[in-house]
């Protein structure tokens, strides 16, 4: 393991010291077994009772492995040998939980991302707005939203047939940006409502989509229902926003506003899609109790492929999911697969469309810019440049997405080919043998998910 601590030779070698800021609290996942949330900086883990006891024993600052074994026995009444503890420290606990090791950069689903508003800037605002999540406020707000929506949505849909003028298109973009920020403010405010710290708000590129995000990782501290409120907090704030916007649009028939409202509705609908890692994903994860849902879906698919090939697969993390949760996981995996297959031809059509149409459109657009510049019409040239940027956004996003996808695919293939060559060179072609538990799980996940069963004593 790359992130393991240095191999210890029990019992003489001192035990490495844990980081001071490690925090342990009960984890609310409504399962039979009690779990605990272990936080270290910006990283969270779920641990079982034995692992919690081991971490608590480590926090006491044992000098040697013998000392650690004694403290663990005193705490739990269970015997674990110093040799076993050494193996556990080496292979199970991530290196960055120990003092002197840098915390790895958090893994995000974004190709690129940057923070727009820091947590410290948001906190004064979110703490003042937390009252909006009072049930006595929520119910009338949602009722008002439904009434306004009923009035404005048909008009907004009808207005989409009318084209906006140049200035309005600019207003539309700023309107969408404002709506996105207000949505993320809603997530952060829901955290504040439950006294849970929140991170900042930022902007990134997720797959081929520009997206706003709010870092609410600390919401893992909350019970599942409160986490679900955090998940819905963004939509709730957009509902609040919709009330005055909708009333204004109905009253004054402002075309730009009607366009913004239509896009606002579209964004609200899109964000409930549980297949991509948007609000719907977290909502499903929290309500079903299936944490790390994408990871479990991948494991389910990999396990199914191995089974189809007639290989025996040892129990992995997804197989520890039982009962109704397993059914939900299988249903989610199946539906997600169908959805991906549905999107595939659309993606293909989009790529063909860009390849066939974009070069000519870009050439024409640049020619117009050149024409205006030559005739000295600077303002018109600037508008033409704006148009060129407008038509280039989607091809650029699609290009970045495809490059990332192809790069991951090539890296995966190279790794597999390299593995095959190594097997041939060594004459140890074990590649066709039944996979072990860890081999059945992609390497990237082995780093994240660890479960061990060790003999006491």
């Amino acid at each position: 393991m790359t992130d393991s601590v240095l191999l210890l030779s029990p019992p003489a070698v001192p035990v490495p010291r844990l980081r001071d800021e490690i925090r342990i609290s009960p984890f609310h996942d409504e399962q039979d077994k009690q779990r605990y949330l272990l936080e270290s900086g910006g990283t969270c883990f779920v641990v079982n009772e034995s692992m919690r006891d081991l971490v608590l024993s480590l926090q006491e600052g044992p000098a040697t492995l013998d000392d650690l074994s004694t403290r663990f026995r005193r705490r739990t009444g269970k015997e674990v040998s110093p040799e076993t503890l050494s193996t556990l420290l080496e292979t199970r606990l991530p290196r960055h939980l120990f003092a002197g090791n840098a915390e790895p950069a958090p893994r995000t689903p974004f190709t690129v991302s940057f923070q727009l508003l820091r947590s410290a800037w948001l906190q004064p605002l979110t703490s003042r707005l937390a009252w909006l999540f009072n049930p006595w406020i929520v119910v009338p707000v949602l009722a008002a939203f439904v009434l306004v929506e009923f009035q404005v949505l048909p008009q907004a849909m009808a207005a989409m047939g009318q084209t906006l003028v140049s200035y309005d298109v600019l207003g539309l973009f700023f309107g969408i940006l404002a709506v996105g920020l207000i949505h993320e403010l809603g997530h952060a405010t829901a955290c504040a409502r439950y006294g849970c710290p929140h991170g900042g708000v930022g902007f990134g590129l997720y797959l081929a989509f520009p997206a706003f995000y709010a870092d609410v990782t600390k919401a893992w501290r909350l019970p599942a229902r409160q986490r679900a409120v955090v998940d819905l907090g963004g939509l709730y704030f957009q509902c609040i926003l919709m009330i005055p916007l909708g009333l204004m649009a109905v009253e004054h028939q402002i075309l730009l506003l009607l366009h913004v409202i239509w896009l606002l509705n579209l964004m609200m609908l899109m964000t409930l899609n549980p297949v991509f890692k948007m609000d719907g994903y977290w909502l499903l994860s929290d309500l079903s109790g299936l944490r790390n849902l994408h990871q479990r879906m991948e494991e389910t698919l990999v396990g199914a492929v191995w089974k189809l090939r007639g290989k025996q697969v040892a129990p992995s993390m997804q197989q520890t999911v039982t009962g109704a949760r397993r059914k939900i996981l299988y249903a989610y995996t199946g539906l997600a697969l169908v959805y991906y297959l549905y999107l595939l031809p659309l993606l293909f059509r989009a790529i063909v469309g860009v390849v066939l149409l974009y070069p000519a459109r870009a050439y024409d657009s640049l020619a117009i810019v050149g024409g205006f510049l030559r005739s000295g019409e600077t303002t018109q040239a600037l508008f033409a440049v704006g148009h060129f940027i407008h038509i280039s956004i989607w091809p650029v996003l699609l290009g970045v997405f495809l490059m990332r996808f192809v790069s991951k695919l090539v890296r995966g293939l190279v790794a597999r080919i390299g593995e095959g060559i190594r097997c041939l060179v060594r004459g140890l072609c074990t590649c066709e043998q039944a996979p072990s538990n860890q081999a059945a799980v992609p390497a990237s996940q082995v780093e994240e998910s660890r479960s061990s069963s060790v003999s006491g004593g």
């Binding site: 692992m51 997206a211 609410v216 963004g234 069963s453």
Partner: protein, 41 residues
Amino acid sequence: MNAIDFEIEALEARLEMQAVAAAEADDCACAGECVAAKMFA
């Protein structure tokens, strides 16, 4: 001798995100179709 399970599972960073809808025109039949069409319009 009874085995002791030591389990640790890293949790995903909770980045609640909302994708920005950039499309304008709409000629799709149903909401689901519309969302998908917008994604790859």
